[in-house]
Amino acid sequence: MTTGTPAGERTTVVVTGLGVAAPNGLGLDRYWSATLSGDSGIGPLERFAAASYPARLAGEIKGFKAEEQLPGRLLAQTDRMTRLALVSADWALADAGVTPEETADYAMGVITASHSGGFEFGQRELQALWSKGGKYVSAYQSFAWFYAVNSGQISIRHGMRGPSGVVVSDQAGGLDAVAQARRQIRKGTPLVMSGAVDASLCSWGWVAQLAGGGLSTSDEPERAYLPFDADARGYVPGEGGALLVLESAGHARERGAGQIYGEIAGYAATFDPAPHSGREPGLRRAVELALADADTEPDAIDVVFADAAGLPEPDRLEAEAISKVFGPRRVPVTAPKTMTGRLYSGAAPLDLATACLAIRDGVIPPTVNISPADEYELDVVTRARRRPVRSALVLARGHGGFNSAMVVRAVPA
């Protein structure tokens, strides 16, 4: 179990900029508008010939033209996920009104999460290795596939040389990275770029995801990924995520930040007990510890962004954890990821960004396509719901037993 820094050193850490790359919207405004309308980005895989694979649907980002956004030197050395991350980072900095050239190098860090690294780049170079030999492998393979490459490239591009790194804990990593960014800000770094963007929709990446189990084999985009529905049958993978500019509240105020979306108010991570031990999984404890870290009671939470595995057993465990803490049907629960597919480490940062927008606009975005199963006793939001949102809880679970929970809270103007 880990929580934030001990009481006594509670620098408020706020979100001041968002950059989003999602299958149902490239860029913050397009994503938010699509998400509120319930427009899904899930469809038949087009990136490679997927007809002969057991799973054939994905949340692909369409219309991304990296060559219009990034210099040629970077195109030669980057996987698709890094290109998406670099552009999302540019957008997040612009949204925050931060000009890195005008900020001291060591006052800015980059801490991202990664699920699998640059698979598409790696696949191409491994194919070159097998078919032609070592001389044909790109020198850039040395880092282009690597987990930490998004952090590294963002750091180099913007001269952000403060505390930086990568967290790898599958889908939970998206929250764990933001928590690490919060720690570094509390230790004195004024600004950290955090979040995650993943993309591994190439045939090699696809096979790896299939091996992990849990992918939906449905061919119907509207019936393939149905978390908390009696017909839950697996999940659809997607690509994308979000990057967030995090700052100490003092730094944001001093530089006159254009907006403060919210505060990263609470966080906790737990690890599940060994399978078949009979002990309760760790998610409920993560939620309770995150609420305690935020010094918040359950009834102050206005919405829960669920991990939403889309498989009966993990859905049941998540529903139980939520009901135990909040009471049956006592808190609105949503999973906008039903419109993007599961984005691995990109998912929770995208949920954090979505929570920020829900707070800003007073609306809870919907979970699409599902009919909530009664047995879960959840108030699942299936149509955009207007209501004031002051605090949101984001949940994320990673393969192998990772549970993370984070509270985002409105900051009084």
Binding site: P71, G72, R73, L74, L75, A76, Q77, K135, Y136, S138, A139, Y140, S142
Partner: protein, 88 residues
Amino acid sequence: MPADFTPDDLKRILREGAGTDDAVDLDTDILDTAFTALGYESLAMLETFGRIEREYGIDLAEDTLTDDLTPRRLIAVITGQLSGTPAA
């Protein structure tokens, strides 16, 4: 194997392998500007050397890559290897 190596061959390989920097126009006279000044760091040169070696069937000695290596010097080394006479 191609029998000669021209500045245009070098520019093509740089573009294909390492890409170009917006701030540098390879079509101006770059022959006497060090690769480092053109924005090509050691990894970019490793990639460029690898592409030249496999396309032209030669081996470029490791000590060819110096901090002040220029396109003119590199072209001379490659041309020397292709003609069987080491560059002076």
